[in-house]
């Protein structure tokens, strides 16, 4: 045992406390860093030294860093993020559809009613050219409203289709980054190694981001390598290797489908196997809620208006004696997209067939028949309903879907908050705590420095004995 050993002890203590202050400083610096896991020094007593008096302490050393990380909690958060992102995406798009279809902005029901009221008006003075022009204007306005709604909804559908491509690109970027990080973590030997902490934090964040896009399954091997599979078992990442997703166009719909590339160029379609996540919401929005939903509804509405009005209109006679003239341009499929007045009606409102008999071109029987459609059950998409009821059902549907998505999203967000609270409770940085630690380390550091001073005095005393 020597005075020098006291100096050694003091030195190790100063180094350890200084390193601890650095760790705390880093924790404080990352107090707002998303996904950061706080670190603590793992201070251990240095190996004991045998002396005549027995084993004596030899100072302190930092055995490693403690990373406050709950693997299972992080996995749960990642899974929960799948549902949260799906609902948040759904809310965002439902709200956009809602803003398009809402009666306050679209005036769809009002314009349908106004159109049929135009026939009522005409029935009150069938030969009046002003009333005929007014009816034609109302018909054109209705057609324009439906065309505009169709254009907005189909524009949104195309945007969603492009979004599919962006999401796939993003997924590929994430899986490539995760594979890269896997490589770095494996190279460092173990995921628990302190040097890997930064990579692990990054990988955890990327995994969370990836799980927000599609539902995945992940597990870690003994070397810290992460394997990620899609829910149907297609590998996305395996240690340092990543597999790409690709889009391919469906010839029937003209929209993108998502396929898994096995690495040799073979593609397998996984579009219908994606059951949740942001991508699922986008696909559902594009195909189910727009394609087969609101766009189809709009198309059915336009188709029924065109068919019902034209069928009656062609049985009537215009003021110029012509019959068999359609009121709306006749189309066979894309009713909403192409809805417009027929060429004849655009050309001359005398073609409007208000009369039902060739004896009286200025009669109003046909106008009354068409006007009565406003209050008559018609068959729209196989249902017996009135036009206004069908439109209010559309409003009810979009309102219900949006509200349900909002409620689910709120629920998911609330659940996520609870889990994030747990995560932050475990991994997050508390400035108070770090400041307390700083003081603790600072005092320890000062004490160690004081120890050197004491050892120095001891040396001086000893050296003074010989003078």
């Amino acid at each position: 045992m020597s005075i020098a050993s006291i100096l050694n002890i003091a030195k190790s203590a100063m180094f350890a406390q200084q390193a601890s202050i650095q760790i705390s400083a880093n924790n404080i610096a990352n107090v707002n860093t998303k996904g950061y896991c706080r670190l603590d020094p793992d201070l251990r007593e240095a190996p004991l030294i045998p002396t005549d008096y027995g084993l004596l302490g030899n100072g302190v050393e930092i055995a490693g860093l403690v990373r406050y990380f709950d693997k299972f909690l992080e996995a749960t958060i990642a899974q929960r993020n799948t549902d949260l992102q799906e609902q948040k995406t759904a809310v965002a798009y439902f709200e956009r559809i809602e803003s398009i279809l809402s009666e306050d902005s679209s005036n769809l029901a009002t314009n349908v009613m106004e159109f049929f009221n135009g026939w009522h008006e005409l029935s009150a003075d069938p030969a009046n050219l002003t009333r005929r022009s007014n009816l034609a204007a109302k018909g054109a306005n209705l057609a324009r409203t439906i065309r505009n709604l169709y254009a907005e909804l189909s524009g949104l559908q195309r945007e969603l289709d492009q979004q599919v491509q962006r999401e796939v690109d993003e997924i590929n970027r994430l899986t490539a980054s995760i594979a890269d990080l896997n490589g770095k973590i494996i190279a460092l030997g173990s995921s628990s190694q302190s040097e890997a902490s930064d990579y692990l934090n990054q990988r955890t964040e990327l995994l969370k981001e990836l799980s927000g896009k599609i539902k995945i399954t992940s597990f870690e091997d003994e070397n810290g390598g992460l394997t990620i599979l899609t829910e149907n078992g297609s590998a996305l990442v395996d240690r340092t290797r990543s597999w790409k997703l690709q889009t391919q166009f469906n010839s029937d719909t003209g929209f993108r489908m998502i396929a898994w590339n096995d690495g040799t160029g073979n593609l397998s379609d996984i579009t219908n196997k994606i059951s949740s996540g942001r991508v699922k919401a986008i696909l559902d929005m594009r195909d189910k809620y727009l394609g087969n939903g609101f766009i189809a509804d709009l198309n059915n509405l336009a188709g029924t208006i065109i068919t019902e009005v034209n069928n009656l209109h062609k049985e009537g006679y215009g003021l110029n004696g012509t019959d068999k003239v359609p009121f709306f341009q006749e189309t066979t499929t894309d009713f909403a997209r192409d809805m417009d007045l027929s060429m004849q009606i655009k050309e001359d409102v005398r073609y409007i067939a208000a009369a039902l008999s060739s004896d009286d071109y200025s009669g109003n029987d046909n106008a009354l028949r068409i006007a009565s459609l406003i209050d008559t059950d018609v068959v729209i998409d196989g249902q017996n309903t009135r036009f206004s009821t069908f439109i209010s059902t559309i409003m009810n549907n979009i309102g219900g879907l949006t509200k349900a998505a909002q409620q689910l999203s709120e629920h998911e967000e609330s659940s996520m908050k609870i889990m994030e609270q747990q995560r932050e409770s475990r991994s997050g940085v508390s400035i108070d705590e770090e400041l307390a630690k700083l003081m603790k380390y600072q005092y320890a550091y000062q004490a160690a420095a004081r120890l050197i001073s004491v050892a120095d005095e001891m040396f001086q005393t000893m050296l003074g004995v010989g003078r």
């Binding site: 009522h120 009810n396 309102g399 994030e420 932050e424 409770s425 508390s430």
Partner: protein, 496 residues
């Protein structure tokens, strides 16, 4: 539990955003005074409001339609009032003429007066409201009456277009807002018009003013859904024939109602069964179709209240009678060729037949006396017409050698018939206007009720919103304050 700083901040932001969103929302609700701003706020309420607003648009339109009927009603009321005055004036002329007190100058003046009355009546008949000739029936864009130089007046609306236009005045209910010129200036009772040049001074009697419907082997079949229905042969009135048809149809399936409207002389087939039926008027075997006024076009009559109505008036048949010598006359039907001689007052129908048939339609003419009946005297039997009657008066007045005061004595009643038409139409218009008043009230009540439901469903309670806004403002400020305070409580502040 450890509280990490980031979580404190995140939680604050989460709560702050929630409160801010609620505040913004209440502000928007207050600004728009609506509780439900978009479908997702309350999907059911929003859908109901869309439906109700659509209903409200219908009620607005019905209100305009009712106003239209009311406007026309007031126009008709004025027109009929003027017509009544004009006919009263004509009656006065006829009475003066009947008194035999007119010298030549007065007579000529009376002619001018009657001509003026006819001209004014034609002008009234061609009254226009907007672009609509109010008596034009369905051919409302051209003048329905044409005054000829001889002061005869043609009603130039095609028969199928005579009926006035309907308009919806209630949901599913229509009302006629125009009155046909036929209904305003004519009626369906057969009248004898005698030529002013006749030597005959006596009276004539028709056995009936209505035409009979004679069903025989040539016109006794109706086809329904491809099956023949045979009517019992015989002579019918419109009403009894309708009853006979209804009986035969109900033998196949109950629920048919067949009616006859004497004012239009049309038949209506109503289908109150639960199945659609087809009346096969185009079937060559459907021989009763023409008699019943249906054109040869099949009609699908919808179940539970659908109906099919005669396309044309079934009783427009007219006869021309000319006296021959030796106690005989000849006749023509609908302006056709003259018949052979028929004995005057022979106790037979107009065609000399002892039974009613499809030609004579049950009409018989009897002269009260044969004294003065002279070869060449002529008589027309046709539907009553105010114009025809006035022209007859005018012609009588014009010719100093004509039937003279006799016409006026025997035919003043015909002017009364014209006045009866006007009274009937005035009563119809009055009733119609009363109905419109009631409908207006009912419609307003419905509109108010709909508006109230929409308001209850959608509108904001401003007092409630103001309270909520105040509460949220307090929460908002408290949140900010508490966050600041919590942040102040850090160890960092103690170490400063």
């Amino acid at each position: 539990m450890r509280i990490a700083d980031r979580f404190k901040y995140d939680l604050f932001m989460y709560q702050f955003n929630n409160v801010k969103t609620s505040l913004d929302r209440i502000q928007e609700q207050m600004a728009k005074q609506k509780r439900v701003l978009r479908p997702s706020d309350d999907p059911v309420a929003y859908a109901i409001s869309v439906d109700l607003r659509a209903e409200s648009v219908i009620y607005d339109q019905l209100e305009r339609n009712i106003l239209r009927v009311t406007t026309f009603g007031k126009v008709y009321d004025t027109v009929f009032g003027t017509m009544k005055d004009l006919l009263a004036e004509a009656k006065s002329v006829a009475i003066n003429h009947a008194a035999g007190s007119m010298d030549d100058a007065l007579r000529k003046n009376a002619v001018k007066q009657v001509e003026s009355i006819i001209e004014q009546l034609v002008a009234l008949g061609n009254t226009v409201v907007g672009d609509t000739y109010v008596f034009g029936g369905k051919k409302s864009n051209s003048a329905p009456f044409r005054l000829n130089p001889d002061y005869s007046v043609d009603f130039i609306v095609p028969e199928g277009a005579e009926q006035g236009n309907d308009i919806f005045i209630d949901r599913g209910n229509k009302a006629q807002y125009t009155i046909s010129g036929r209904d305003a200036f004519y009626n369906r009772s057969k009248t004898i018009y005698e030529s002013p040049n006749n030597k005959y001074r006596g009276e004539m009697i028709l056995n009936t003013t209505d035409l009979a419907y004679v069903v025989d082997g040539t016109n006794n079949t109706i086809y329904r859904n491809g099956s023949a229905i045979t009517l019992t042969q015989g002579t019918y009135t419109g009403a009894t024939l309708a009853s006979e048809i209804q009986t035969r149809l109900n033998e196949l399936e109950t629920g048919h109602a067949v009616t006859y409207d004497a004012s239009t002389r049309r038949f209506t087939f109503a289908n109150n069964t639960t199945n659609n039926i087809t009346l096969d008027w185009s079937n060559p075997g459907s021989t009763a179709g023409q008699m019943l006024g249906f054109s040869a076009v099949d009609a699908t009559v919808l179940a539970n209240g659908g109906w099919d109505k005669s396309d044309v008036d079934t009783g427009t048949t007219s006869f021309q009678v000319e006296i021959l010598d030796n106690g005989y006359y000849q006749y023509s039907v609908n302006g056709g060729a003259m018949s052979g001689p028929v004995a005057i007052n022979g106790g037979t129908f107009i065609d000399g037949s002892t039974e009613a048939n499809a030609i004579n339609r049950g009409i018989r003419i009897t002269f009260i006396t044969t004294e003065g009946l002279t070869e060449g005297d002529s008589f027309e039997i046709k539907d009553y017409s105010i114009f025809e009657m006035l022209k007859n008066l005018r012609d009588t007045l014009s010719d100093p050698l004509s039937n003279n005061a006799n016409w006026s004595r025997t035919n003043i009643a015909k002017i009364d018939e014209g006045l009866n038409i006007i009274r009937r139409n005035t009563a119809y218009v009055g009733t119609n206007l009363q109905t419109m008043d009631r409908l207006t009230e009912a419609n307003n009540a419905r509109q108010n009720r709909t508006a109230k439901i929409i308001s209850d469903t959608m509108d904001a309670d401003l007092a409630q919103l103001a309270t909520e806004y105040s509460n949220l403002s307090t929460i908002y400020q408290s949140l900010m304050y508490s966050f600041t305070k919590i942040q102040e409580l850090g160890l960092l502040n103690f170490l400063k």
